[in-house]
């Protein structure tokens, strides 16, 4: 039935598109590639200065920040043409007729030179430009238009090296000479200049650079006109000069194009760089300070290293230059990239696996030295009062003060200097952000954070982020377009995650730190910008707990209860503000986290109560376990060897968290009965062991599992069980003490030995390499319980099993306790 098919089609399409978009989001999150617009922590937004004119040269690891020229060449040309006609011809029509014709219209007009007889294609018959030039009143313009269109296909070739058709230099040359002739005979200046431009251009494309340059020198260079055509011709001349061997002069000419013709600025910038000459050499050709300023501007834009030289040159030569502000911003962004990002990420809430460069300390010294020079410069910039927005200097100096840290009031004092000044809205926003950072920094040194004072600034930031999201335009031109328009969202994200949460942690307020981290994750364009519930019945198996990793690793039941209380009872406006980040869907996840925290703390009854608050009925199989069906296990299955793992047996249930809690409660009750105590303790020990990294049900107390967790140093409070299996060891020993059965006692001892082994700190690549591990190899062969086994249980049947199971034990018994090195021929059994 037709309607059903359409509906299904729509559903498929929508699903496909949503998954595609999510796919992109996941790709962005998981991909190794850095987002070129968001790859370092930045609170000093790069677009505070010179966005229109120099936005393409903001700091980026790409060649240019943007490939879009500041102005549009077609628009500029169309404006000039419209002025030529005086009135009656629309610029949009000119642009269409010159730059945006479809192929079939184009060829009709060129082939059919009798356009005056009304053969404009129907689709263009209302085009005011075409109707004007065919009206009989603008025959010269018609002639020019036909000439330019006629040579268009030969001249406008795409540079594709595998295209075997060579450029038709012969035809280009003759057309160039024809244009020159037409230019000489043309009466009107407007078209005359354009013919000369075509002449130079076509001769240039025909590779006759000498002749092309001669055309410029004789006919264009001194032509009296304000037309931008002169700039495009100059750009070509610069290219001719370079190809004819004078790279320094060419670079100089490109710098002039860069300065005066924004529609060709990026092109001139790239060409300047192709010349590969030093700014000093080029500056020798400059005739005034303004030209010098532009040369050093270009040089500065292509320098990714910390440097004061270009900034100082440009400012000294032309203190009014907008480019100076952009160069200044670049220097600050460089410091953010090289210094600030590292400094903030090294902390607890930052990237845990952040790689610290071994040269980091010396690099830091260099960065700090540069920071101080830059700050001096910024203060001078303001004091001189020559730069169009001198307040920029104060604001930047204040920011640098914050970045360096260790100053109490200096930053705020600086900002106070510009209080009451009327600032541009961008600068004003930036000032607010810096103020926020400085007040937060001040609170670090105070005993209490003045939250009432902080609140308005935080609310302002939230509003600013929302406004930014509303104003964002869809970007299809480039892959990471969204981040370029989410500067405040990114700053907010990093502020909450790396700055404000740190302040709370220093003051031991884990609740508020946790809320800051959650807020950080909820900024737009981040992976978890919307809360998703663990309970999602459309999934085949349970999804995940969407709370931040920090919560899953560090929050105790006490803290979580405080969070829940705060969420219910927040009274102070600040508390309400912070807590508002918790969405309804988060509460389920929070109860899951609470229950898990209780499991970690061995408070099983409370765990059961916490889990009750989640409606499991919507989960598949009603199970609260965030692993797939093949990884869910029965933690009470006892194995002597960790591998191969047995997950479940026939008639043994797969345990989710509530079931585990209930079973442990039951076992605790059993343990009170002397007849069953030993067995109960043994089972509890086994349950605890299996709920560790090494067992078959790690998911009971941990939300993640990594092979790197094997025998690692403790980080989290529950590592005592998860990594060290300490409680399990105690319970095995308790079980042993309560029994008189030597076989059973031997087994308990062996299990305790397994636990003790996990407490030896293992090297990172253990199990992955055949190399010597030194102390570790020795330690595993000198397990304290081995002595115990040999001394007390050598006559049991289990003893033989133990020997068979454990090669370390065999090594111990044979006296091979020095590790692998002493016996290179010993076969290692896994």
């Amino acid at each position: 039935m037709a309607t059903t098919t359409w509906r299904r089609l729509i559903i498929y399409c929508v699903s496909f598109i949503s998954i595609f978009i999510i796919g992109i989001a996941v790709d962005l999150a998981c991909s190794g590639e850095d987002d070129p617009y968001d790859y370092y922590v930045s609170f000093f937004h790069n677009n505070v200065q010179g966005e229109h004119n120099y936005g393409a040269f903001y700091l980026s690891y790409n060649y240019v920040f943007s490939e879009t020229e500041p102005e549009s060449e077609p628009e500029i040309n169309s404006k000039e043409w419209a002025a030529y006609f005086g009135h009656g011809v629309k610029e949009a029509d000119i642009t269409r007729a010159m730059y945006r014709l479809k192929k079939q219209d184009d060829s009709v007009m060129v082939r059919d030179k009798l356009i005056a007889f009304g053969k404009i294609p129907d689709s263009l018959k209302n085009n005011s430009f075409l109707t004007s030039i065919t009206s009989g009143k603008y025959d010269a313009a018609l002639k020019y238009y036909l000439f330019a269109k006629g040579i268009e296909r030969t001249a406008n070739t795409i540079y594709y090296r595998w295209d075997p058709t060579p450029v038709d230099t012969v035809r280009l040359r003759s057309a160039g000479l024809e244009a020159l002739q037409l230019g000489k005979t043309e009466q009107g200046d407007f078209l005359k200049l354009r013919y000369f431009y075509q002449a130079e251009r076509l001769l240039h494309f025909s590779k006759d650079y000498k002749k092309a340059m001669a055309v410029y020198d004789e006919y264009i260079g001194n032509f009296k006109s304000n037309s931008h055509i002169k700039g495009w011709a100059l750009s070509l001349k610069a290219g001719e000069v370079r190809r004819l061997g004078d790279s320094v002069k060419a670079a100089y000419l490109f710098s002039k194009v860069f300065a005066l013709y924004p529609e060709r600025r990026i092109q001139a910038y790239k060409n300047y760089n192709f010349c590969k000459v030093s700014a000093e050499e080029v500056a020798k050709l400059a005739v005034n300070d303004r030209e010098r300023a532009f040369i050093y501007t270009i040089d500065g834009f292509s320098n990714p290293e910390l440097t004061m030289a270009n900034l100082e040159h440009v400012y000294n030569f032309d203190p009014k230059s907008e480019a100076a502000g952009v160069l200044l911003t670049r220097e600050i962004n460089k410091l953010e990239e090289k210094y600030l990002t590292t400094k903030l990420n090294e902390k607890l809430t930052g990237n845990f696996n952040y790689y610290k460069d071994k040269y980091a300390d010396s690099l830091n010294k260099v960065s700090i030295a540069h920071l101080q020079l830059l700050r001096k410069f910024c203060i001078k910039l303001s004091a001189d009062n020559k730069y169009p927005e001198p307040a920029l200097g104060i604001m930047a100096a204040a920011y640098l003060t914050w970045m360096e840290g260790g100053h109490r009031d200096e930053g705020i004092n600086l900002l106070n200097k510009i209080n009451g000044q009327h600032l541009s809205y961008k600068l004003n926003d930036q000032v607010q952000l810096v103020k926020l950072l400085l007040s937060t920094q001040k609170f670090e040194s105070l005993s209490e954070i003045d939250e009432a004072q902080l609140l308005p600034a935080l609310q302002w930031l939230d509003e600013r982020v929302k406004k930014e999201a509303r104003q964002a335009k869809p970007h299809y031109q480039y892959y990471y377009g969204a981040s370029d328009q989410s500067k405040f969202a990114a700053s907010s994200r990093d502020f909450y995650n790396l700055v404000l949460s740190e302040v709370y942690l220093k003051k031991h307020d884990t609740v508020k730190a946790a809320l800051c981290i959650l807020k950080s994750r909820r900024q737009v364009n981040t992976e978890f910008s919307i809360a998703t519930s663990a309970i999602d019945s459309s999934q085949q198996h349970a999804v995940w707990n969407a709370l931040p990793d920090f919560w899953k690793h560090y929050l105790s039941s006490t803290t979580i209860n405080q969070l829940l209380a705060l969420q219910k009872n927040a009274a102070a406006p600040y508390d309400k503000f912070l807590v508002s980040i918790l969405a309804n869907d988060d509460i389920n996840d929070l109860y899951d986290l609470l229950g898990t925290a209780y499991l970690r703390e061995h408070s099983y009854s409370q765990a059961v109560n916490a889990f009750k608050k989640i409606s499991l009925g919507k989960l598949p199989k009603n199970q609260l376990a965030y692993v797939g069906p093949d990884a869910i296990g029965d933690p009470f299955i006892n194995q002597l060897s960790d591998y191969p793992k047995i997950f479940t047996r026939k008639n043994s249930p797969a345990y989710d968290k509530p079931l585990f809690a209930r079973r442990m409660i039951a076992l605790q009750k059993q343990a009170a009965n002397p007849q069953m105590a030993a067995s109960a303790y043994f089972q509890m020990a086994t349950g605890l062991y299996n709920a560790s990294h090494y067992g078959n049900a790690y998911y009971l107390i941990s939300y993640d599992w990594s092979s790197a967790d094997y025998g690692r140093e403790s980080r989290y409070s529950y590592d005592a069980d998860y990594v060290k299996t300490k409680s399990a060891e105690q319970y095995y020993l308790k079980a042993r003490a309560l029994s008189n059965n030597p076989e059973f006692k031997a087994k308990c001892t062996f299990m305790a030995a397994k636990c003790a082994q996990k407490q030896i700190i293992a090297p990172d690549d253990v199990g992955w390499s055949q190399r010597e591990y030194g102390a570790y190899d020795q330690a595993v062969r000198r397990n304290p319980f081995f002595t115990d086994l040999r001394k007390n249980y050598s006559t049991t049947a289990f003893y033989k099993t133990a020997m068979h199971e454990c090669s370390y034990f065999r090594d111990f018994l044979a006296g091979r306790t020095k590790g692998k090195a002493s016996y290179p021929n010993v076969r290692r059994e896994e």
């Binding site: 090296r161 595998w162 075997p164 058709t165 060579p166």
Partner: protein, 348 residues
């Protein structure tokens, strides 16, 4: 009586002739061709003359080099030929593509597939620009190594499989060391090879050797290897000469601007001995500083004759294709028609 003696004499002569005849070898057919290695094809009377005189049917025209682009990651055509004139009707074009070995080092199959397709397209278009409606043979020139061997052979197979090359011959150049070490270097999957009997010595080593053509050097590599090669082998012989420059006995390059006549200018060069000349003063027009040395390497007719004679004894096939490198007036003029006839004759 007299008649009987004459008969006996005639029979003896006949017997003698019959006994001698089998030891004469059948003259081979020698087909002459030339390489065209300039980036612009222009009709030239002298060059056409050679084509005409030697009844040249095939002209091996270099279409392009293939090397990595500036980004170091994309193989692109380098200096592709442009045709100012069309090729003469009497001559077939054999397009030749030179592939720089480095290109093959990091290429996986999908990129080799892509390269093969682009290469064939490009060649076909250039053949068209040469004024030919079709070509019957494509030659690939590459100094492959043991590490790039698999990639190269894969590429050749892919080129062969291209529909444009259906029923056409594909040939590859073979350098002396590749002929000798067949085990290590493999045998390329082509229909025939062109043995490059030039550039055999050590170009960059200081000394008075002739790296272009050196018979003792050649003999080290050839021997039985030539006759035993599992496919037809064409022979390439050099006609060119060049000036190899050294500074403090270190190789600094080949000077394209020095002609032999310049070396005989006693104001500019001092003759040291053998084929070595020393710059008497700074000569920036040649890219030389005072005391730089130049080794003039050239190929003489006796050298070519010696090489041809040696090769002839090794070639077992009935037909020999010899391709001279290369067709350029300045290069071939020193070799008159008779000179090259002599060389050809020795190959028969």
């Amino acid at each position: 009586m007299k008649n009987r003696n004459v008969h006996i004499f005639l029979i003896l002569v006949l017997l003698y002739l019959v006994s001698v005849l089998p030891s004469c070898h059948h003259p081979k057919t020698v087909n002459t061709s030339f390489y065209y290695w300039k980036t612009v094809y222009k009709s030239n009377q002298t060059e056409q003359g050679y084509l005409h005189h030697f009844k040249v049917h095939k002209l091996y025209v270099r279409i392009m080099d293939v090397n990595m682009d500036d980004d170091g990651a994309t193989p692109v055509p380098v200096s592709p030929i442009t045709f100012k004139d069309k090729l003469p009707d009497s001559v077939q074009i054999v397009p030749v593509v030179f592939i720089v070995n480095d290109v093959l080092k990091s290429m996986k199959k999908d990129r080799l597939d892509d390269l093969a397709g682009k290469l064939v397209n490009f060649v076909a278009a250039k053949v068209d620009q040469a004024g030919k409606t079709k070509f019957n043979e494509l030659q690939v020139d590459c100094d492959w190594t043991a590490t790039t061997r698999n990639a190269y052979f894969y590429l050749l197979n892919k080129i062969k499989q291209n529909p444009t090359l259906k029923n056409k011959t594909i040939s590859a150049t073979l350098r002396l060391h590749q002929l000798k070490s067949q085990q290590k270097m493999g045998v390329p999957p082509v229909n025939r090879v062109m043995l490059m009997c030039y550039n055999m010595g050590n170009l960059r080593k200081y000394g008075s050797q002739n790296s272009i053509l050196d018979l003792p050097e050649m003999k080290k590599y050839l021997g039985d290897n030539l006759g035993a090669y599992p496919m037809p082998v064409d022979v390439g012989l050099p006609l060119f000469s060049w000036a190899v420059a050294f500074r403090d006995k270190e190789y600094i390059g080949i000077s394209k601007r020095i002609k032999f006549v310049d070396l005989n200018n006693k104001n500019q060069f001092i003759f040291i001995g053998n084929n070595i000349y020393k710059a008497a003063e700074d000569l920036p027009e040649f890219g030389l500083q005072k005391a730089d040395e130049v080794r003039w390497e050239a190929v003489s007719v006796p050298d070519l004759e010696a090489a041809a004679g040696y090769l002839s004894s090794l070639i077992k096939t009935d037909t020999t294709n010899v391709i001279y490198f290369h067709l350029d007036e300045a290069v071939i003029k020193p070799f008159g028609y008779n000179d090259l006839e002599k060389v050809n004759n020795l190959l028969r």
